[in-house]
Symmetry: C2
Subunit: 274 residues, 2 copies
Amino acid sequence: MDITTDITADFTALRRESVATVRAAIRECRYQGQTAGLAAGRLQANLAILPAEHALDFMRFCQRNPKPCPLVGVTDTGDPMMHTLGGIDIRSDLPAYNVYRDGALTDSLTDITDLWQNDFVAFALGCSFTFERALTEAGIELDHIIRNRTVPMYRTTIQTRRAGPFGGGMVVSMRMIPENRVQDAIDISARYPWAHGAPVHIGDAAAIGIADLARPDWGDPPPEHGEGTPVFWACGVTPQNAVLSAKLPFCITHKPAHMLVTDVDEFADTPFVQ
Amino acid sequence: MDITTDITADFTALRRESVATVRAAIRECRYQGQTAGLAAGRLQANLAILPAEHALDFMRFCQRNPKPCPLVGVTDTGDPMMHTLGGIDIRSDLPAYNVYRDGALTDSLTDITDLWQNDFVAFALGCSFTFERALTEAGIELDHIIRNRTVPMYRTTIQTRRAGPFGGGMVVSMRMIPENRVQDAIDISARYPWAHGAPVHIGDAAAIGIADLARPDWGDPPPEHGEGTPVFWACGVTPQNAVLSAKLPFCITHKPAHMLVTDVDEFADTPFVQ
């Protein structure tokens, strides 16, 4: 099947397929689109690839900031296979990659095999899809999903715990939750530490340095007259920002929304294939 | 106060004291005993100190084996302060340390300041005290606590996921749980991923390579005619074994049962001082 010519048709065809079929399509560059909604029930992850020289500090950064940076996988130095999350070749198994040099985006590619170096270490970090699905299954409707938009994300004054060159402010995503479901949203998301866990803040946006909810730094604005309580979760843009602001000579990330689709059950209690 | 002469009196005096008082007594070598029952409500942790050259592999080992190796803190290279768990000087703030050279125990010391090197990295790993307290508070009585014994621990055929020189079999601890409380024990311990989380096995000991429950590899045997279901949790002896079997030229651990007492609330959802 050649599905590169029509991304919409690709997605519609692929969303009913198994994770093996989805990843084969991605690996062979037959699908280069966003991954939300694909391989339902499988853990998806953010990606960061760094030279080994910075890997220990980056792992420390993740350990010290587990809510924005839930580390779900790390390769051996120079090994492009991420064995613990499935038969994953990290050089080809994401639909799209961003390549950064000295902190600046220099390329967006669909395969990075030619760029792989034997001192590279790849890190997979959990994402919000998991707890969003759990919230939806519990009857808590999420506006950005209903409207098919991207969740609004904001820079905050909450500081991360620094490790080496990695630090800076935490980025959060916001979802309006009906007041009588806020405690449920807390309890449900707390069950998924691999997917940012419980919220980091509830209610007053100004208290964490957000001047105007209508003007997110990333994603789409929330509805103008949305009802409910704003609930803020730590966001995977945080480590991406930390990596970019460290201005490493070279690093590679996933292209936003183009995630690593793993073999792992997204509701597993530890993020590993059995 | 001079409490080195009578460990029993020390313990009795200290168990009513604050974490600050407990750690001061330990730091000044006025208390050199076991830490179970001290500073109630504070997270206690296992310790491993390694040269930086092995730190990335050890962090990978912890990431890949989160149930036996729940990493709750890691220092910057060469920095003896573990800032994220309190005002902790890792060279003096444990009651006793074991020093290993080429995998063999060469010293037990109450302070390692003289041994500290500027390439050392210290790792703190969560321990079972947290979920044991939660089980006890839920009315699930634990035999080894009632009888004031050490929990029985066993080598198993469950393999850890290897990282560099670190690997080997998982060690588990066993607690007999009344059959009608097993699901509660699972649910309660699952809430504490920083303290080994949910059990790794329930019931048949032979299925995980344990020939005789009456003959543990570490700790005290369970009662001969104990009732209930044997429930097995991943144990912090696993990373200690992995470090020793890697036969590193040099490493330091806590002396068993002589743990790091941190400032962190043991029921916090992430292991950090606020």
